[in-house]
């Protein structure tokens, strides 16, 4: 199908393009920008006047809950939520049940996702069998099945020799290792940042050194093994400093932060709001400021949704017993926009944190919009407000600390491989 996107504000973070022009799509690719290519006949014209035409968002952490946790969410519900949020590619962590540690499971997931014909799904394989931190998975087989990287998700890997070997083995084949830095002993039983709020509320705490000690180990092993290391969900100012120093020393490490940590802090826990029970814990305002500064100066490469749908029963419990996590796919775009506006960051550079940079971390030829690029596109109204409410979220996960927030930025169309996979119900309404 040939599509003409008319009169939209094209944002291409790769070539820093930000101008109003037409975009022409043919055979699933960007065929031309500005003037129609010779002989182009549009089957569909999208009037994008007043809208932003950006690369589809690429989310580095979206739990789809399949296999095993279908009572929390299904592939159908979450893929629908993804495209409604303008997300055209997503990486899913291996913490399913069973974990993604066998090629068959990965193939099944890829197959199910492909049949839904919505966003591209890139499974992250388990680094160790059953995520138990003892034996290595068949990484080469898993890559053949479709895995793009290897991770422990939030499962602990306490044995540093196993971690060393896993990184050596991954480095042998040039596979990426994605790790969330948290010392499992220091974090034991903890549910909140070891600061003012946990002290006031009497919540078992996780100190910042749980992150920095694990991070130091990971950075040291990356230097030692040459493994491609991506650090997931950085949460502290001290962690930011270590990444900054490592990058200055030339280590090819990348890292991401969750959108929750860009906007929230321990203060948001208030009177034990279980929606703020997140992993890693929301830290202090100073930490949040450091994460934002690190996004601006490039120390932090990407923002992800850290989408973790949780069923209602598992959330309606006292803070520590409530299941950690929040829904996020449909909030990633508005929260990136909100951060950009608050920190006076250009739209193009801000969107790069959720498009081009995550594509580079995933090793994908995506996240940009120039001639020849795959036509994964997010067309959104940058000024439309909407209120975050469970009824408007397509995800089966309804819990988010942002419930009740008025956010700006509403997706009108999402295109994957040049096909319209999402169109908002009321494209003309502003509210």
């Amino acid at each position: 199908m040939n599509i003409q996107i008319k009169n939209g504000r094209l944002i291409d973070p790769k070539y820093s393009i930000d101008k109003v022009c037409d975009v022409f799509i043919a055979a699933g690719k960007i065929a031309a920008i500005g003037a129609a290519p010779p002989g182009f006949a549009a089957d569909k014209v999208i009037d994008a006047t007043g809208l932003v035409v950006a690369p589809g968002l690429i989310d580095l952490a979206a739990r789809l809950r399949e296999p095993g946790y279908e009572y929390m969410a299904t592939l159908e519900s979450e893929m629908e939520a993804a495209v409604a949020g303008g997300i055209t590619s997503l990486a899913c962590p291996p913490d399913t049940e069973p974990p993604l540690d066998e090629p068959g499971l990965v193939e099944m997931l890829k197959h199910r996702a492909r049949n839904l014909n919505q966003a591209h799904v890139y499974p992250v394989g388990a680094l160790t069998t059953a995520l138990q931190g003892q034996e290595l998975t068949e990484m080469a087989e898993l890559v053949d099945a479709g895995c793009v990287a290897f991770s422990q998700a939030d499962a602990p890997l306490a044995d540093t020799r196993v971690l060393h070997r896993a990184m050596q083995y991954a480095a042998t084949f040039g596979f990426s290792v994605w790790l969330r830095p948290q010392d499992s002993f220091l974090a034991r039983e903890g549910v909140a940042h070891d600061g003012e709020v946990a002290t006031r509320c009497g919540l078992p705490a996780i100190p910042v050194c749980a992150e920095t000690i694990a991070l130091a180990t990971m950075l040291m092993l990356a230097r030692n093994t040459g493994a491609k290391l991506h650090i997931c969900r950085l949460s502290s100012a001290a962690g930011v400093e270590m990444i900054r120093a490592a990058k200055q020393q030339g280590l090819a490490v990348t890292c991401d932060v969750s959108m929750n940590h860009v906007h929230l802090s321990e203060m948001d826990i208030g009177f034990f709001d279980p929606n703020c029970h997140l992993v890693p814990p929301l830290r202090s305002l100073r930490d949040r400021a450091a994460l934002r500064a690190a996004l601006c100066d490039g120390t932090v490469d990407a923002i992800c949704s850290d989408h973790t749908p949780v069923d209602e029963d598992a959330k309606q419990l006292p803070f520590a017993e409530a299941e950690a996590g929040a829904t996020g796919l449909e909030l990633l775009l508005p929260l990136v926009l909100k951060w950009a506006q608050q920190d006076n960051f250009s739209l193009s550079a801000a969107l790069a944190k959720a498009t081009l940079h995550p594509a580079q971390i995933l090793g994908l030829d995506a996240g940009y919009l120039s001639v020849g690029a795959t036509a994964d596109v997010c067309i959104f109204d940058p000024v439309a407000y909407w209120k975050v409410e469970s009824a408007v979220l397509k995800s089966q996960g309804k819990n988010t600390p942002f419930t009740g927030f008025e956010v700006q930025g509403k997706v009108r169309y999402t295109l994957v491989d040049g096909q319209i996979v999402y169109q908002s119900e009321s494209p003309t309404s502003h509210g």
């Binding site: 070891d194 100190p207 009177f271 034990f272 419990l317």
Partner: protein, 317 residues
Amino acid sequence: MINPQLNKNGELQHLLTTEGLPVQIVRDILDRATNFLDAADGREIKKVPLLHGKSVFNVFFENSTRTRTTFEIAAKRLSADVVNLNIGSSSTSKGETLLDTVDNLCAMHADMFVVRHAQSGAAHFIARYVAPDVHVINAGDGRHAHPTQALLDMFTIRHYKKEFHNLRVAIVGDILHSRVARSQIHALTTLGVPEVRVIAPKTLLPAMVENLGVQVYHDMTQGLRDVDVVLMLRLQNERMQGAALPSAQEYFKCYGLTEEKLAHARPDAIVMHPGPMNRGIEIDSVVADGAHSVILSQVTFGIAVRMAVMSMLAGNS
């Protein structure tokens, strides 16, 4: 953020924590408790019909005999019907969620819940989900709060010291895991105590505790110097397993309250303890039974203070 324990008229709807409690409400509770004590000797408690026809449910998800009993006595002296439920050994082990339990108890037409739970924030959680005419009293939630204990401690301090504005108070022991300590700190600072100290090893202090308005001491001799009130905390045996302390013996040597250490406090200092005491671990028997100890008065006053809280809540329906 709205204060979840006040109703829209600013009156006490639930008693969940001493944090953010308006000072006038604290004073009202203490004054009301005084009225429940016999004027003649300040000891005997009268029976009154203030909660006649009301049901008070003692809902204990964590075992406790002493606290539950004092609430039961307080409710009975107010002529309420009292139901004791030890949920710890029934519903949750059968898989019922906390929310189901709360709904079921509301359906039994309780007027007041007295709740104890092992999780911090459980009382706030229950208060959020109860029917609007039900009052919740937190009888201890995890490490978070134990407001009636702190209020009875304030009552005891006022009884012996008359004023708060000229006092130096030290809280000694496991601050990190103590809901009593947190509630005491908020109550003391609310009542205008100018100097609140905490004395503990670093392993038993939470992060940034000084932000609660206290001064931190690690040494008993320095920390007790010239204090008017010593609030001792109970030490749980599991602290030794969690590598927070090497042994009960060493704890007693460094932080146990002995006559020798107490000599650094003011000569008229009072010693308090929320009970049950570990004699020879956090407190020497000689001190516990000595002239400075007001520990048994605390127990008596505890009934009057709990009556005061219950009658105030019932009046705010």
